[in-house]
Symmetry: C2
Amino acid sequence: LSANSITIALDAMGGDMGPRATVGGAALAFRQNPNLKFALFGRSSDIEVQLKRFPALRAVSSVHHCDQVVLADDKPSIALRQGRDSSMRKAIDAVSHGMAGAVVSSGNTGALMAMAKMVLKTMPGVHRPAIASVFPTIKGQIMMLDLGANIECDAEMLVQFAVLGAVYARVVEGIERPSVGLLNVGSEEMKGHDELRQAARILNGIKFPGRYHGFIEGNDIPMGITDVVVTDGFSGNVAIKVAEGVGKLTGHFIRQAFKSSPFAMLGALLAYGGMKRLKHRVDPRLYNGGMFLGLNGICVKSHGGSDDVGVANAILRAAELVHHGFNVQVAAEIESVMGQESFLSPVNGDGV
Amino acid sequence: LSANSITIALDAMGGDMGPRATVGGAALAFRQNPNLKFALFGRSSDIEVQLKRFPALRAVSSVHHCDQVVLADDKPSIALRQGRDSSMRKAIDAVSHGMAGAVVSSGNTGALMAMAKMVLKTMPGVHRPAIASVFPTIKGQIMMLDLGANIECDAEMLVQFAVLGAVYARVVEGIERPSVGLLNVGSEEMKGHDELRQAARILNGIKFPGRYHGFIEGNDIPMGITDVVVTDGFSGNVAIKVAEGVGKLTGHFIRQAFKSSPFAMLGALLAYGGMKRLKHRVDPRLYNGGMFLGLNGICVKSHGGSDDVGVANAILRAAELVHHGFNVQVAAEIESVMGQESFLSPVNGDGV
């Protein structure tokens, strides 16, 4: 076995498709990254049935039986108190015990965040963890956070998210000085909440592993105007869900257009290759994986509706964070940023 | 002249294309609605040159010379103080003097809102005006507000926006009991800001000219889950701009797909009719017109980049609001809603 092997703790029961998709996804990920090993948590009989399909995966996996499963509609507070023996909780425990480098789950987002925060704890110096993900743009891809962990964010939290995002773009994507934009309703300095204006002032004053671009607007995200987009969890969540919905709507309209006449149907056949590449380019499964950043341990949330391909991408994303030592780098950068003078004594508010 | 004639006060100088687009737009709108008359404000020589192209429009238009023009990057506060002789201000004045039924401008949004608020004043009982617009969905169209007038909104404002939206959907779109959704990050009752939860409680308790649907998420908007979407101006602005950006991105990818091979190019030719209908269906120009609701007078903001088609749609939207007596109906409904017990004594917050 390679010295660089990375063990992923997988909540095999999470998501609408359960072990079929999680184990299938592990097999797919393993084919792409042979350094992976797996610790699978859940009903062992269900997991073993699926593992039979993938002998190579079976050889690098351990199965850990758990009777309990956190359900999609369980309240996070209930899951936290009553889910101590759940597959989700045990998979997170595996990271805190050093048995795995990262945990991946397609289960209940709120429960996963609550458990991950309690078990792994927030990184020293980080105020609150954030959920981050990458999305396709006209130029390539963009990294955005927070996507829903924090409904309200103060200026310091937004600045820390900028650091988390910049470290990700530099360490994982290899961008030397990633540009970071703050999502606002206009690019002028006086626009938006007081927290945003204060975050902008701090980002203009500190040294951090990125370059502060300024305020950006919603339409700048798909254009890839910056490498990283920082926003509060409410707006971030609205933004990604609107994008998802518009994508679906467009797909529906395109299918209608291609069905509108025999000529259009023939046209669709001829354009099949190109349309297939387009579909691939915006395939949400390839961007699956909400990274919980700012915890003492890597935790990635896979979409509840994920199939094998989606789960595989969430696993590969988690493995990348481990491989590049993301958390070690973040810890150092957060410490450096928080100690800088312009962070400690920002020019105060606008009297709002 | 018809007894039903509606006069539109048009800021002829607003927008990137100036009088060419505004006068051209007026001509287009007039062709679709012969009950329209126009009062055109701006540099008379520039306007007259354009009017020469449209003798029929000339016959129903008056031209009012103004030397001043509010520029796209003028600060609203400056425009307010120094723009008393501007085409934008004079067009708004025309509504307050009863000379026109509505004002339409493609100029600076912030300045237009500031001037409209000062001149027309907020409707009795309405806390703050909102910007509203309609968007295409899988089912037809949806009306959404606020899109940027109010960065922060309390529960009462959100409830009033729900009333404004419901009256619009009923009076203008003819939907008997329009459904109204509150934009949130999840559909569960405990999700989101305290203001949202309180607004939900009030909407559940009052009688208003719509049906409260509950919380909706960003992806529900393009699916047309409700007739009206209510949100604060920050999230609303992010939502429409993300949708605009994703639409642009998809258009770019589709063009790339059709150019990817000779087969695809032939396919594009064959599917041309269907694709053209698709493009028409999501054409942002057809949905142009940000309605400023809650003022004592109809004011519609046309997109700064609007051409004739865009301006025409903003004018037709303004005319519809006048034609259906939107403001009279809203005034009555706001008064009724604000007097209801569950509005006056909402169960108070969650201690947040």
